[in-house]
Symmetry: C2
Subunit: 560 residues, 2 copies
C-alpha cells in the first residue's frame, strides 16, 4: 500500500503529521512534484495554485501540456490524495513553488473528481521492476481547494491573500535531503553487495578452460581477469557500507545542530551527501551490469536475479537529484571552499583537508616499493593531494573567465572530475577511519584492510591520469601500485566466498539461482527451466496452427 | 521462423548446403553447441558421439547434467533438427568436438523423439528482447543417428570406424569467424547510432534550468556536461561504422586469399576482428545505457526505446566469444608479434606499425598548442606509440616469469589494457584513412573530421594515464588535448541533429517517443500513456476487492 511521503520541499514534521491523518481519513496519498517537462529544476514547475480571496480557496491548474504531473509513484491508479507542488500566485505575484494537499478521487467509488485527469504513464524498464508501481500522470482543470490545504510551515497565505514568510529556517529543507540521500548510500551498498555476492559465488562454481590431464577446468574466480573486475566491486560494497554508516552519524549530528539553530555544517553536509549519493549509485548501477557480465551467458537469465536487480536499481541515478546535477553542486561547493581558503575561514568536515593547502600542493609521494602502497597514510595523502590539486586547477582555469557562470558552464566536465575525486577521497578516508577502530572477530580486520587497499589502489589505477598529471605520484609509483593491487587480489581470493557470505543474504532475498548458498547451481538452473509455463506442453500453443502450415507450404512451393 | 545456422566450427559451405535442404525437408534447425556448464571453452563440451561399428551409427549421449545443451536459439519449442556439437569417440579414442545432424522431434506431431529431452530455459533480461526466442535445453539418452549425419568436411569416420582427417585446411574455420564478427561490428555501429539518435534529438527538445527573465530554459544539449557525455558516443557511432566498412573489405580479402590457399594474413585478420568485436560491443552496450541516462527520467519509460535496445543488445558482449576472452586472444597475438620483431618477420596489416619499433619507442609528441591536436599525424603517432609501448611493457614483464603461461595469467589485466589500446588505434587509424578519401556532400568531410578528432581526443582523455605514464605525451599536452576537445564540442553542437538525422532511421525503426523526428515528444508521451491497458478503466481491476477493504479496516481498527 502506498503511504504519503513529503520530501524535498517538505519537512519531516509534516510527514509525521500526515501519516496518521492519512490512515484515519482512509486515504492513499502520493507526492506529486515532477512534471512532464520539469524534473531536475523544481523551480521551473508550471502547475499553478492561484489564491481566490473571494472564496478563500486556491485554484490548482495545469496551464500547459508540459505542466502535467508525471512519474509520481502510486498516482496513476491508486492514490486518493496528493501533495501537489505548484507555483503559488496571490494577486499578480508568483511566490515560487509550494505544496498543497489535493483530493484526486472520490472516497466512495474511487472515480476522479471533477477537473482531475489521472492515469498511468505506461510500461517501464524491465519485466518486473517498477512495472508493479502505478507511476502516474495528473492534470488539473481549475480545481478548487480550501486555503488550509496549503502546507504552511515555511510560508503562509492569510485570509486576505497576503503572502507571509514564517521564521522557520529555510535550511530545514536540506536536513531532509541529507536524510534521504544517506539512506540511498546505504541502499547502494546493499544492492552492490547483492550483485557481488551472486557473481562471486557463481565464479567459484563455474569452471572454464585450463583443464590439465583431463582434470576439472579452472574455477573462473581464479582468473586474474575475473579478480581484477570482481574484487574491486567487492571492496566497493564494503567501502560504501562504511561510508553509509558514517553518513548516518552525520545526519544525527546535523539534526542536533539544526535543533540548536546551528547551520554552520549544513552546506558541507549537504554537498557531502549529494556527492556520495551520486558517486555510489553510479558505481553500483554499472557494477550490477558488470556482475551480470561476470556470470557469462547465464547472467542474462532472469533467474540469475541480476536483470531485475539492474532494472530496479538504475532509476536511483536519476531520482532524488540527477547524478550529474548533484556532482555540479559538489563542484560549486568545492570552488567556494577554495575561494575562501585565503580568507581565514577554515574548511570543515570532509573538506577539512583543504585547510592544509600548502602541504598538499607540495607533498610528493614517497613510495619506492610496491608494499609502500599498503600504508594508509600514503594512500590518504595521495588521494587528498589529487583531489585538492584538481580543485585548484579548476579554480585557476575558472579565474580566466570574466563571467564566473560562463566559466563554470564551460569547464563543467572538468569540475565533475574534481567532484568525483573529492567523493572518492571521502570514501577512502572513512574506510581508513573505520579501520582505526576495534573490529570484532578473529582476522576480520585484516581482511577489511586488504579490501580497503584494493578499493583505493583500483581507483588509483583507474584514474591514473589524474594522479600522474597532477604530479601526486610518478608513473613508476603508478606501476608499483598496480603491482601491489595484483598481489592483493591473491590475498582476497581465499576469503572471497566468506566475504560475500558475511553479507548474510538468504537465498530467498538474493533471488538468484547462480548465487545460491550451497552452490548447486546447475541442478537448480535445470529445475527452474522446467517451471517455465512454455514447458507445460510438449508442442507449444500455436505451433500446429501457424508454423506447421508454413513448413507444408514449402513442399508445395518446391513441387510447383 | 528459425533457419539453421552453422557457425564457429562449421563453414559457410556447409551453411549453403544445409539451407535449401532444410526447406525441402520441411525442417527447422538450430545450432546446438553451448552446454549448461560449457560456453567459452568449446573444447570442454561433454556431449558424446560414440561410433558403433556394428550398426554404422553414432550414439549421441549427455553423460552429465552439465553436458545438457543450453541456450541454442529456436531449440526449446520449435526446432525439429539440430546440428549438435559433441565429442567424437571411436574405439576408446576421443577425437575432440565435431558436428552431427540430429532429428529432435517427429515431423508428424512435433513430439520429441525417443531419448530426446527438450524444453525452454526460461525468461531472460527485459520485457521483450530475447523472450520471444525459445532458447532451449536438450539432453540425449543414447540417441542413434546414421554415420552420414556427421559433418564430414574436415574430418571423417569411415565405415570401419577409422578416424580420418581430410586435407581441407583447418584455418577455414577462422574465415567464418572473421565473417560473423565483422557483421557484429557493423551491428554495433547501428545500435549505437540508434541510441545516440534518440538521446541527441531528445537533448535538443528537453530544457532544464537557465531560464532568464522568464524566458525558456536552456536546451539540455547546450550543457557542456551533456555534450561531453553525448558527442563522444556520436563520434564513436561514426567511427565504428567506418571500421565496420573496412572489415567488410578485410573479409573479402581474407576469403580471396583462403581460396588461393594463402593463410598468411589470417592470424592477423582473426585477431583484428576478435578485438574489434570485443571493443565495439562493450562500448556500445555501455553507451546505450549512458544514452538512457542522458534522457533523464523519461529514458526509463519503455517507449523511450532505450530499455529494449539495451536488453536486446547486451548479449552481444557474451556471445560469439566472450569479450574478455577475445581480448586475451588479441593480447596473445600482440605478444607473439612483439616476440618476432627481432626475427625479421614483418608484422602485417593492423600490426604493421609495430615494424617501426625504434621510432615508436623514441618519438615525442610535439604538441605545443591546443590546435596542434587537430593534426591526424600527431594523433596517429600518439596512439601508435601508446599501443606499442604498452605491448612492449607487457612483454618485458612477461619475460620475468620462468613459465610464460603463468606470466600471461598473472599479467592478464595489463594484457587486456594493451589489447584495448591496440583496438582503439585500429579504429582511429581507419577513421583517419577514411578521411583521406573523397567524401561527397558539401561540408560533410569537415564534420566527419571534427568527429574524428572528438573520437580520438576523448579516448586520449579517458586513458590519459596510459599516454602519460608511457611518456607518449606530457601532462601539459594532455591538458591541451582536453582544451581542444571542449572547443570541438562547440563545433559539433550546431550540426548535432543533422549528424544523427544522417543515420536516416525512420520513427518506426527507431521505436522511440523521445527520439521522434519531428520532436513533438511531450504530446506523443502523453498520447502513448493513454494507450496503456491500465488506463482502459478508471478504477483499476482489484481496487474495490482488495484495496478498499484495507482502507475500511483502518477505520474499524481506529474505532476499537
Amino acid at each position: 500500500m502506498f503511504i504519503p511521503a513529503i520530501k524535498g520541499q517538505g519537512t519531516e514534521e509534516q510527514h509525521e503529521k500526515w501519516l496518521p491523518m492519512a490512515y484515519k481519513m482512509q486515504i492513499i496519498g502520493c507526492y506529486a512534484q515532477t512534471e512532464l517537462g520539469h524534473g531536475s529544476n523544481v523551480q521551473g514547475l508550471e502547475t499553478t495554485a492561484t489564491f481566490d480571496p473571494q472564496t478563500d480557496e486556491f485554484v490548482i491548474h495545469s496551464p500547459t501540456l508540459t505542466s502535467s504531473k508525471w512519474w509520481p509513484g502510486g498516482l496513476g491508479k491508486v492514490s486518493t490524495h496528493a501533495v501537489v507542488y505548484a507555483r503559488l500566485i496571490t494577486g499578480a505575484q508568483d511566490h515560487g513553488v509550494h505544496g498543497f494537499i489535493v483530493q484526486l478521487r472520490s472516497l466512495d467509488d474511487h472515480s476522479p473528481l471533477p477537473g482531475i485527469t489521472v492515469g498511468d504513464i505506461g510500461m517501464k524498464f524491465g519485466s518486473g521492476a517498477y512495472n508493479s508501481m502505478d507511476n502516474g500522470l495528473l492534470r488539473f482543470d481549475h480545481v478548487r481547494i480550501p486555503r488550509n490545504q496549503m502546507l504552511m510551515r515555511v510560508s503562509q497565505v492569510t485570509r486576505e491573500g497576503k503572502f507571509v514568510q514564517s521564521d522557520v529556517p529555510r535550511q530545514l529543507v536540506y536536513g531532509t535531503m541529507v536524510y534521504v540521500r544517506q539512506t540511498i548510500v546505504s541502499d547502494a551498498s546493499c544492492a552492490l553487495a547483492r550483485a557481488v555476492c551472486i557473481a562471486t559465488r557463481y565464479s567459484a562454481v563455474r569452471r572454464q578452460f585450463g583443464s590439465q590431464n583431463g582434470g576439472p577446468e579452472t574455477q573462473v574466480i581464479d582468473y586474474k581477469t575475473q579478480q581484477s573486475r570482481l574484487f574491486p566491486l567487492l571492496a566497493s560494497a564494503y567501502a560504501f557500507r562504511f561510508v553509509g554508516e558514517w553518513l548516518k552519524w552525520l545526519y544525527t549530528d546535523v539534526t542536533q545542530r539544526l535543533q540548536a539553530n546551528d547551520f554552520s555544517t549544513l552546506p558541507e553536509a549537504h554537498a557531502c551527501t549529494a556527492g556520495l549519493k551520486s558517486m555510489t549509485t553510479s558505481v553500483t548501477a554499472d557494477a550490477i551490469e558488470e556482475c551480470r557480465k561476470l556470470c557469462g551467458g547465464h547472467g542474462y537469465l532472469s533467474n540469475s536475479g541480476l536483470p531485475e536487480l539492474f532494472a530496479v536499481y538504475i532509476p536511483t541515478c536519476t531520482y532524488e537529484g540527477d547524478n550529474v546535477v548533484l556532482l555540479l553542486q559538489v563542484a560549486r561547493f568545492l570552488m567556494k571552499t577554495v575561494s575562501q581558503l585565503g580568507s581565514g575561514k577554515k574548511p570543515v568536515g570532509t573538506t577539512a583537508y583543504m585547510g592544509r593547502a600548502e602541504h598538499l600542493m607540495q607533498c610528493r609521494c614517497e613510495v619506492e616499493r610496491a608494499e609502500d602502497w599498503l600504508k594508509p597514510s600514503v594512500i590518504l595523502e595521495a588521494f587528498e593531494a589529487r583531489a585538492f590539486r584538481m580543485s585548484i586547477a579548476c579554480a585557476k582555469n575558472l579565474s580566466k573567465f570574466s563571467n564566473p557562470e560562463d566559466g563554470f558552464s564551460e569547464l563543467s566536465p572538468d569540475l565533475l572530475e574534481a567532484a568525483i575525486a573529492h567523493c572518492q577521497l571521502i570514501v577512502v578516508s572513512k574506510y581508513i577511519e573505520k579501520l582505526q577502530q576495534d573490529i570484532p572477530g578473529k582476522g576480520v580486520k585484516r581482511q577489511l584492510e586488504i579490501l580497503c587497499n584494493v578499493y583505493a589502489l583500483h581507483l588509483l589505477h583507474k584514474h591514473l591520469g589524474d594522479f600522474v598529471t597532477t604530479s601526486c605520484i610518478t608513473p613508476k609509483q603508478g606501476a608499483l601500485a598496480n603491482e601491489q593491487l595484483r598481489l592483493l587480489y591473491s590475498q582476497v581470493r581465499p576469503n572471497a566466498i566468506t566475504l560475500v557470505d558475511a553479507f548474510n543474504y538468504t537465498d530467498h532475498y538474493l533471488g538468484s539461482v547462480l548465487g545460491c548458498y550451497n552452490g548447486n547451481v546447475y541442478q537448480r538452473l535445470y529445475e527452474e527451466a522446467w517451471k517455465d509455463p512454455l514447458n507445460d506442453t510438449v508442442v507449444p500453443d500455436g505451433y500446429l496452427e501457424y508454423v506447421w502450415p508454413i513448413l507444408k507450404q514449402h513442399i508445395r512451393t518446391a513441387r510447383l
